[in-house]
Structures are given as C-alpha cells and as structure tokens.
C-alpha cells in the first residue's frame, strides 16, 4: 500500500495533531511544569541552602528534573493514542508508522524543550545560575537533549503504553539507555554555564548530536515493528 502523502508531510500532520491536542487542554505541559518545579525545589531542600554547591550542581538538577518529567510526558504521549484505539486508526489511515514516529518524537521533544525553557529562569532564581555566558549554545544543548530523550523514549512509550505495570516499565527500560545522554547533556550544560578551561564543550555537543542521530535512525527503523503489534 503506498501512502498518498509523503512521509514528511504525514509526520508534520501527526506533529500538528499532537500540538493541537496539547494546546486545547494544556494539561500535559502544565502538569510537567509544576512537577519539575517541585523536583527542582526538592533538590535544593535535599542539598541544603549552600549557594555555591547548588550553583555547581545546577546542570545536573536541571537535567534530572527534565528526565523525570519526560517519563510522565512520554507515558502520556501514547496513552492518548491507545484510547479508542486511535493508533490503530492512524496506522489504517494509512499513515506510515515511520511518520508517526517522527511526528511523535518531535512532539515530545518540543514539549520537553518548552519545559526546559520554562525551567531556566527557575534555575536562576533557585540556584543563582548565570545564563548570560552563551545563551544560544545553551538553547542548542537543551534542544539536542530534548530530542535525545524523546527518540528512544517514543519507542519505549509505544511499547509500555500497552504493557502491564506501564508506569514502572517506561523508566526501567528508558533510564539505562539514556545514561550517556544524561552525561553528555549535563556536561555540555555545565561547560556552557561555567568556565570551560579545557574546551570540552564541543566534544560533548558532538556526543549529544551523535546520540540523537543514532537513536532517531534506530527508532525510525524499529518503530514500524512496534506499531504493528499495538
């Protein structure tokens, strides 16, 4: 069966559909914003009010808050599709499953990206972070990191949306895979916000990009198999 529209056009439609659903309720974004706000607050309570420590570890807290929020947000991303078997409908439309993957990845990534932009001023307030060193690169790191979380996350959330104990399943599968991404994103953020005497930030950015590309392509190849079984 040949799809009537191109893959990119279909992916764009899926992305627009996700944005529309999100925009009409704004429930998911609001929920994850407040969830990560309280996570960031909890980190500062757990570490004590010492500003130097907090500032030094701020990139780690920021990415952990994003990572925890991403589990909630990714889980929701396919839950809306399994209601009324919407995903089956999409596959039958016929939208190529790969287009669903691309649309969903960027839907999830954009949500996380917006969340990270919202959290930035909060890190300034809570951890006294200096954002003015290289804001453009910071935005790039946040974007690459959001895509990196979403690429394997979309595949895993499609899997776990229909598994038993799905709320445990998603982080159990996702966190080990995301470990290098967390390392790269935290280091890249750290060397963007703080002095980088050894000029390491570029190699971390490359690692982030490589991670994104690898998981985008692996997910692109494997997602149709997952969608078949949904």
């Amino acid at each position: 069966m040949t799809p009537k529209i191109s893959l990119l056009a279909a992916a764009w439609l899926v992305l627009k559909k996700d944005w529309q659903i999100e925009w009409r309720t704004r429930a998911r974004l609001t929920a994850i914003i407040f969830f990560s706000l309280s996570t960031l607050l909890l980190f500062s309570f757990a570490m004590g009010p010492d500003v130097t420590t907090l500032r030094a570890h701020a990139p780690g807290y920021l990415w952990l808050a994003l990572l925890f929020a991403s589990v909630l947000s990714l889980g929701e991303s396919f839950r809306i599709e399994s209601e009324n078997q919407a995903l089956t409908g999409l596959v039958l439309t016929p939208v190529e499953p790969r287009a669903i993957f691309v649309g969903k990845v960027f839907g999830n990534a954009s949500l996380l990206f917006v969340l990270s932009l919202v959290l930035l001023p909060v890190t300034v307030a809570l951890y006294d972070v200096d954002l003015s060193r290289d804001p453009l690169r910071l935005v790039l790191v946040l974007f690459l990191g959001s895509v990196g979380i979403s690429a394997p996350g979309t595949v895993y959330s499609a899997i776990s949306a229909n598994a038993r104990a799905r709320d445990v399943m998603l982080p159990l599968l996702l966190f080990p895979v995301l470990m290098p991404l967390l390392l790269a994103a935290v280091s890249a953020t750290k060397f963007t916000l703080q002095p980088d005497p050894q000029e390491q930030v570029d190699s971390w950015l490359k690692l982030l990009t490589a991670f994104d590309l690898i998981y985008l392509s692996v997910g692109f190849l494997l997602f149709p198999k997952v969608a078949e079984e949904d």
Binding site: S82, Q85, I159, S160, L172, P176, S187, L207, I214, E229
Partner: protein, 253 residues
C-alpha cells in the same frame, strides 16, 4: 593453551547452540559431555588459579579473583550479543525459536553479568580501596545489566506472546546500541576525575589461567543457555496455544 583456542571454542559453542536448537537428535546428549567437561575444568581452575598461578605483583592473592571475574563478564557480553543477534533475527523473520533463545541468552547474561560485577566490586575494595569506581568498563557492564533487567521485566509483564517477542526484540536492540555510547561517554567524563588505574602487568601463566577460566565458563554458558531454552520453549508453546479469553486486548482501562 594457544591464544586462538578460546575464540575457536566460542565459534564451536555458537555452532553447538544452533545445533541444539535445530536438531532434535543432538538435544538429549550434547549438553552432558559439555557439562562434564565444564565441571572437570572448574575443579582444575581452582587448583590453577589458587595454587599454580603466581601471586600478582601488586595485588598479591586478591588478584586471583580475576580468573573467574573476567570470564564471567566476558560470558555476559557473549550472552547479550547472542541475545541481540536473536532479536535482529526475530524482527527479520518471526520465529518462536529465536525468541525463546533470546530469552534464555538474556537471562543467562544477566546471571553472568551480575556475578561478574559483584566479584569486581569485591576485588575493588582491597585493591582500589572502594567498592565502586567510575571506570568505563564497570559502568558499561552495569548499565548493560540494568538494561537487560528491564528487558526481562518487560518480557514478564507482557502476556501476549507475539507482542512480547516483538517488543522485547526492539528493546534489546535499543539497549545494545547504547553500549558503545555509554563506554565512550564514561571514558570522556572520567578524564575529568583522576582515577586510580588498575596495574595491568599480566604475566604469562596468568594469561594461561585466565584463558582456562574463559573456556570453563564457556562450557557453562552453553549448558545454561540450552537448558534455559528447553524451559522457555514449552512455556512459550503453552502461551501461544492458550485459548483466547473472548475479551478484547487490554487497551487503556
């Protein structure tokens, strides 16, 4: 033992696993001589590792754990590679055999990996003075272990056998792809922290014993995988033949 022996044996083991799966004729007997060989070699390994091999120059007798620790981690790597091979094979051509083999390889790999990492930790305490260190090999093995525990959990949480097979195959590939990235990222990350390096002045008799250990564990790897496969197959058949309950698949509640 010449250096090519373990590699040749590895190829032999993979061939033997395939023979075990493919041919009902070798299934009842082939594992028995291998298990016996493994048992005999294990007893010899105790002697070779504890008495025959000279004590390590820096670590003295503590270093002897190497002869079982390193082969365990190697076996875990082999088992996970076997698992991902089966996963790719399953996605290319659906077959219950590769699915069952993937399950058994993953479980055996988690066993070998968990024992290997624990032994590494026991070794690290007197050698490095810590139970845990941010060494790339250590982290990669642990991350791999966690990923495969997730894989096994996914398998046990999915009832539908066809879904289970496809999903776990996809999860296995995603986890396996992460391994080299984890390795590189931890190595770069670690260049910031000054880490004690393990003194690796490996003497010739030690290499011999290490190879002996690897061959011993390879025998056990084979026996474990095929025995676990024999458990997985009937379970799978029972799940496939289970009459449908007449209920729709559990979608969102």
């Amino acid at each position: 033992m010449p250096p090519f022996v373990p590699l040749t044996l590895l190829a032999l083991v993979v061939a033997a696993i395939i023979a075990h799966v493919a041919s009902p004729k070798v299934r009842p007997w082939l594992w028995k001589p291998v298990a016996a060989l493994g048992a005999v070699m294990l007893v010899a390994l105790w002697y070779l590792g504890l008495v025959w091999a000279p004590p390590e120059q820096f670590m003295s007798d503590v270093g002897r754990i190497l002869y079982v620790h390193v082969p365990h981690v190697w076996m875990a790597l082999i088992a996970f590679t076997l698992n991902v091979g089966c996963a790719v094979a399953y996605l290319m051509k659906k077959s219950w055999v590769t699915d069952a083999l993937a399950e058994s390889a993953a479980e055996v790999g988690v066993y070998f990996g968990a024992v290997g990492v624990s032994m590494g930790s026991i070794w690290a305490r007197p050698t490095w003075g810590v139970w845990w260190d941010w060494d790339p090999r250590l982290i990669s093995t642990t991350v791999m272990l966690l990923a495969y525990v997730g894989y096994l959990a996914l398998r046990s949480f999915t009832e539908d056998p066809e879904r289970r097979a496809t999903w776990s195959a996809v999860a296995a590939i995603l986890s396996y792809v992460a391994l080299p990235i984890v390795w590189f990222s931890v190595r770069w990350w670690n260049s910031l922290h000054q880490v004690q390096s393990s003194p690796s002045t490996v003497d010739k008799p030690m290499v011999q014993v290490l190879r002996w250990g690897a061959v011993t564990m390879l025998c056990f790897l084979y026996v474990f995988v095929v025995k676990r496969y024999e458990i997985a197959r009937p379970r799978q058949t029972a799940a496939i033949e289970l009459p449908p309950l007449g209920l729709p698949r559990p979608e969102a509640a």
